[in-house]
Symmetry: C3
Subunit: 353 residues, 3 copies
């Protein structure tokens, strides 16, 4: 496929800079670009690599077309460089039409389940008694929806994810491959030297417009729900323990672990590998840096770092002091010697007084 | 369903406090409680929230009925508040009768496998040659039991868990969804610039009364078993590497990673996100705090914190000193100035001597 | 089975030390050895345990046969103790012949997929349109290969792993159970308070001779590939985010998390639970210690430790200073008192000058 750059400029409603007749043959990131490809440069760092790259043209953000200035290559300036580049990529690599599967005869569906007429259930999915699927749901192969699961409209459950009994999922939410939702909470009472599992009478309640990453685990509540609020996005391999109440529109990055009975507000951001101890409450619009360990409640509208996590400014001060520690140790040793010298001299001096 | 509080008090053999004729219509935690619901308050913090909650009554621990004092709501005092509340929850929300599945015709079972007569094997499970299942085993959909796996009585393997060749599981143990047991150990020898996988001749041996969390991974031994001792409970997404020997009645929390050839004693507790380097031995009744990094053997009967993990008291001292670091840095700077001033004065003073 | 030690010595081309007529009945590690077993002692620590162990004989490394000296037990000295022991283990416990499965009729394979004639596809695997499998591929039960996946020769995908659309896997690579390859990248733009998923037009490209551990997750690129270089070995539960470019022959240990758009050189080693922030570049032959947090680009040919990760020597100095912190705090307090005393004396002394 060969498309003149000026046609691409029209497609993305962008401003052409340079030779509009140049024929583009593909769309790739700067790392993969071959001659003939158009690429994108959304920041100065990438723009600096543009000239040496194999790409023949670039999409750049309008307003900062200077990005393209250092380059001899033609460009198209657009408002939203990522949305525009996505359109161009699809132009050259149109996603294959998905075949409608309908309800596969190779899926095992209980006669006591209720499926909206237009759902898709792939081969090898297993749907137990009392499950309900809203319109537009897509259930991939190997998924197991246990007894009583209730999915609203347009929910997508990717391959081999498992939803234990009575899991509820709100409209438009996505659960990725291998996620385990609703397994037993890790709560034990130790009696006569044996750990006895606590009650497992609860379930997991996932709101609308939620995304759950691959291989993530969310445990059921003890008596009631573990809750994931509307609009919250959870990355891969996140652990959310029993009875947690995650707020709305949170962003929870990969490998975060949240212990039992925690509560987060709205618009909370937890960076990668953060750990949260049990029964902690985190306020609205809190951001926590990677690898932090949250030991206590965190007040709203602030950024926290470190383990134990403290306000960003305090942690930055600690880190700065920490880096100077070996130097400070030398200084203290020097001071000790100086004071010793002074003390040795002073009795003599003092005596003359 | 409407049940007078006095009947609930009888059911849980508790002592009634207040209006026994009040009719209860449900049982929920304090966060979810609606008017008409009974809830539980197992500690003072929750008790403080009782009055403002929507709940109409509460279970409280006998002996500390003062919990109920601040509240105008009727209550029932019981010995074991959690066991009692579980009974009440089941009264209002009886778990649906599980249908007996038997051995599903949609499971793929080798003719060279030996199944006790009363096992349950769900649709989509795959059981290979030489596998044996003891009485009462339940194998959920999508589980793969590879060649030679041996499960004792009453083992439950949840959906999509995978047990590689020759895995052994003791009586009454539970493996949750998505767990991978017996994959290759991560051991390589680098020859001519290529990493060559070590021998993978071992297997995993799980004791009796063990629980393995969702999406947890336990690698096979190099030549013999990786061992999980009787009564040990392992949370979600825990990594246990090849040749480890985990003792009995351990509690290993989520996202812990234990490198190869480690050994733990009995009643060891590892909190969330702990890491253990290879070939470490941990004594009996050791507790290790969240996010700790264990670099050396740990002696029995003690608590360890930090990375590298050291005895709790030492780490607390370090943390306290660390928090004072910026202050100490200022103090050292001040001292340096003072000593300089003194030194400038002293030669003069000393000369007079 | 009973095999005289001298025959074992011949089998492994080793040098016999002691009674060659002793009949060996099994092969086990030192922890599991029963009387009659041969074991291996590959280092001094194990050699010290040899005498008290139940083992009747040992394989020891030639050149350091002194390992066997402290022991009264017969031994065989060999060049490569692990390769030799693997042969002996297989002698006593020959791995059962794997039955050829061919393409199971219980697998669901699109008519628009291309399979080389000698592949194995187990029951319950699902293979979508446009997938191609090279000669010798083995696809275990429950695996889902989505539309357009391309596997070269001799690729093994273990049970319940999921490869999203267009994943490419090079010759001889292995993906372990439960791995999720090609799920959506965790990239969002927040518009009017809602997080909107970025473009998901890319895929994952895994090189040749790569191993991917159980339950590991690798996300697809935004527009192009997330790349895993030839010969790289990835342990269990590793997270590799969208657009990463992992080099060749890396060793990435369990529970490492690498955020989006990172790049590693060749022969990089990341120890357990390391975290890498987004857009970081790591040079060739870099080694990073367990639990480190990598915040900035790392230069080649060096070892880094800590969070934030710094060169090993600097971190060792920091750790040493940190351990002395409580002591230093005492010393500073003492100095402050001494300086105060001196200052009180000195005006008097100075006045006499």
């Amino acid at each position: 496929m060969r498309i003149p750059l000026k046609e691409i400029a029209q497609l993305v409603e962008g401003r052409l800079i340079g030779d509009g007749d140049f024929e583009i043959t593909g769309a790739s990131t700067i790392w993969d670009a071959q001659p003939g490809d158009i690429t994108l440069a959304d920041n100065l760092r990438l723009a600096g690599k543009l000239e040496q790259s194999q790409a023949s043209a670039a999409l750049v953000p309008s307003g900062i077309e200077t990005l393209a200035n250092g380059s001899s290559k033609p460009a198209v300036a657009v408002k939203d460089v990522h949305a525009s580049f996505a359109r161009v990529v699809k132009l050259f690599r149109p996603p294959p039409a998905k075949r409608r599967v309908g309800v596969s005869p190779a899926a095992r569906i209980s006669t006591a389940a209720r499926l909206a007429p237009d759902v898709e259930v792939h081969a090898g999915a297993v749907i137990d008694d009392g499950v309900s699927l809203g319109a537009g749901c897509v259930i991939y192969p190997g998924v197991h929806l246990m007894q009583g699961c209730r999915l609203a409209e347009n929910v997508v459950i990717f391959s081999n994810a498992v939803l234990y009994e009575n899991t509820r999922v709100g409209a438009g939410s996505i659960v990725h491959a291998g996620a385990s939702i609703g397994a037993y909470g890790f709560g034990y009472q130790t009696i006569d030297g044996r750990h006895r599992l606590s009650a497992q009478l609860g379930y997991v309640e996932i709101g609308a417009d939620v995304e759950i990453g691959a291989n993530t685990t969310i445990d059921r509540g003890t008596y009631g729900p573990t809750v994931i609020g509307d609009g919250t996005k959870i990355d891969n391999m996140v652990q959310i323990a029993h009875n947690c109440r995650i707020g709305r529109h949170n962003l929870i990055c990969s490998q975060v672990g949240i212990a039992g009975s925690c509560k987060t507000g709205d618009y909370v951001v937890l960076a990668g590998q953060v750990g949260v101890r049990d029964h902690v409450e985190i306020g609205d619009r809190v951001t926590v840096g990677a690898k932090a360990g949250i030991m206590n409640n965190l007040e709203s509208n602030a950024t926290y770092l470190g383990a134990p996590a403290i306000p960003e400014r305090d942690e930055m001060l600690l880190i700065a002091s920490f880096a100077k520690l070996p130097e400070m140790r030398k200084q203290v040793k020097l001071l000790a010697r100086q004071v010793e010298t002074l003390s040795a001299l002073l009795p003599a001096a003092a005596k003359t007084a």
